[in-house]
Symmetry: C2
Subunit: 397 residues, 2 copies
């Protein structure tokens, strides 16, 4: 079993480890990671809405359903997405789950096994199976950091946030969030994986809490508008610390997930700026998110940020084509803290300050007030650089 | 009045001319174009769906409504979009319409005056007014080609298609289509303008015919997913040739508009390939268009084409996130004539042929059959190059 060392970044009741199992033979790096709970405990997961879905998604759904949402182990490999692999891919996932369950002494449906990496190639099952003893032994790299590294694909930086929080009565609990994403996965698309772990036990609907958390974070994140067949977010609690029903846990989950979402955006391929799109005055919050996403996925907006060009016309026009009704004569647009357009009138005198904000700040704020209601939201993205094109065009040719 | 010379590319009853009025002082080129009908004759127009709309759009709507759809002159300037210019912009448009109407002897509402170019700057009305005598005189450059050049902004090539057609009884009529678009307009977004002129007179609902024509052509075109506040398509007939009610005119309009749409795509900034996305097996034609547009606007698909990478996973995943329901296990994907994925199984043995198609053909075909119904459609776009980013990022910084 995994020794208890270097797991300080995880909530009580969880341990993590990682090994190099050789899925990417040419790259010497960790590619198989495990988080193990001391005993099976409640988890929920949400998945990509893409019609193309990696093999792990139907198996995870089935396992959570059969186990009543009780999970003992989360295993993740990088380097191979086990996607577009047909029935074989599903069988391969089950084989690994059974083998791990047998070694740790639980039911196979208490294991979730996720994959990220190249699509369309069969998972090297034997390599994963052969690596399990090492992964569970003393020689594996221990701890949340090792796990975080093992799930990276083309991410430039690992993404891990650990936090101690207090409920209304001052009782401490912990939340740890780990994510990967935004780097494209050769030869295919970005996969976003995130694992939110806590030791807090309180009367929350796990899936509902996870959905609201994702709505406020990962669902407000766009790197290039494409979604992956393997996107998965898992919420998991060891229930070691009983806390008072309060907003403390949902708030901690939201803050950590937003932090991770921003880290994913800024790690976007070729990105040089984190872009926060602020939308106000939309008819509803959902409308504000929709307008924000339209601005955040506009190639014209994203290339303007890359060029540090305070091009408010592109922001206004992207909002204008979002399908949300508003009167451009009542709208306001700002960049950083500089208002560059309001009520039908451009403010060219403020464009230099806006340009300096884009030039000097690592986080660029693009704001629009539609003047059409109370809805507001923030959406995160990154700028669009020639490097993005090089990275994504120059793979096989 | 415009002398009848070099107007051979236009249908009977139309003449065109262009001058350099100096809207772009640093660029010595034609920037004001006019098409004049011998007498006011039926026209219809459709406009951008963007909530931000250039000043010409409300005035065009009002003029067509007040004139009963009878138009004598279409005037177009490039270099200034007269957009985000408030009430002043609308007054400026009206001033020019009144001045031209007075000179040619018609009601102001029989004039349409369209603008394309930079947004957020006031139209230099005096320059336009001062240029009208020259535009109507012997010294203006004559003909459809001059008009086509005058409406270009960052287009690399003029886009004009003229054709003689025959109705079911062999009676000849003419259709001429002129378009500009896809090049971004410094410092703002692409504007697509198109003028479809014919001398055919038959019992067609003009606006309905124009909408169907655009649905089959311009609405299936994407360069970067952004729409402009000034997009406008005008259909105009001099009614000089009475033809039998038949499909000849709608078919000619469709073919010419599709030809122009493809020319716009291939003239996309930084583009090196025309991309035709073929969608089959969608639940409906509208669903097929929606899936095609999602593929055609995916940065991952477009960068893959630029890299000549037969990356079918990106095509399938873009379709998968379109919102149209289908079973990826029943889908097929092809590139050129090479099937690279079918029924859940990749065909890596065909990827080299697909790569060669992308490498050697100027028009790349990306196809997907969703296996979910009878709907099919083609959508046109271009590849996404680092030059696109440079052109759109490097304007003001």
């Amino acid at each position: 079993m995994i020794p208890l060392q270097d797991n300080a970044l995880l909530p009580a009741g969880f341990r993590a480890a990682a090994v190099q199992c050789g899925i990417r033979p040419r790259r010497k790096r960790l590619d198989l990671g495990l988080v193990l709970a001391d005993e099976a405990c409640p988890a929920a997961a949400i998945y990509t809405t893409n019609m193309l879905q990696g093999a792990h998604i139907p198996v995870c759904r089935e396992h959570l359903s059969r186990s009543g949402g009780m999970v003992r182990a989360v295993l993740v490999n990088s380097g191979n997405a086990n996607c577009s692999t047909g029935q074989q891919g599903i069988e391969d996932n089950r084989t690994v789950c059974r083998a791990l369950a047998e070694r740790i002494g639980c039911a196979p449906e208490q294991v979730l096994f996720l994959s990220t990496g190249v699509i369309g190639a069969r998972l090297p099952v034997e390599k994963v199976l052969e690596a399990l003893p090492e992964l569970l032994g003393q020689d594996a790299q221990q701890g949340a950091s090792a796990f975080t590294q093992a799930i990276m694909t083309t991410d430039l930086v690992p993404k891990l946030v650990a936090r101690s929080c207090a409920d209304a009565k001052g009782r401490l609990f912990r939340v740890t969030g780990i994510a990967k994403g935004s780097g494209m996965i050769h030869p295919n698309m970005a996969t976003m994986l995130s694992f939110l772990m806590t030791d807090a036990a309180c009367e929350l609907d796990m899936e509902q809490t996870l959905r609201r958390t994702a709505d406020l974070s990962y669902h407000r994140l766009s790197v290039d508008g494409d979604t992956s067949p393997n996107d998965t977010v898992v919420l998991w609690t060891s229930r070691r610390t009983r806390i008072e029903p309060s907003t403390a846990l949902p708030e901690a989950l939201r803050e950590i997930s937003q932090d991770l979402a921003r880290r994913i955006a800024v790690d976007g391929e070729g990105a040089t700026r984190l872009v926060t799109v602020e939308v106000k005055g939309a008819p509803s919050e959902a409308d504000a998110v929709h307008v924000g996403r339209t601005i955040a996925t506009s190639p014209l907006t994203k290339t303007a940020v890359h060029g540090r060009d305070p091009n408010w016309g592109r922001i206004l026009a992207a909002a204008g084509r979002s399908g949300i009704r508003f009167d451009a004569e009542r709208a306001r647009v700002w960049i950083g803290s500089s208002e560059v357009y309001s009520h039908g009138v451009p403010h060219p005198e403020n464009e230099n300050a806006a340009h300096l904000h884009m030039l000097n700040e690592k986080e660029v704020v693009l704001g629009i007030d539609l003047g059409a209601g109370p809805g507001e939201a923030q959406v995160w993205t990154c700028d669009f650089s020639a490097d993005y094109v090089h990275i994504n065009a120059d793979y096989r040719s």
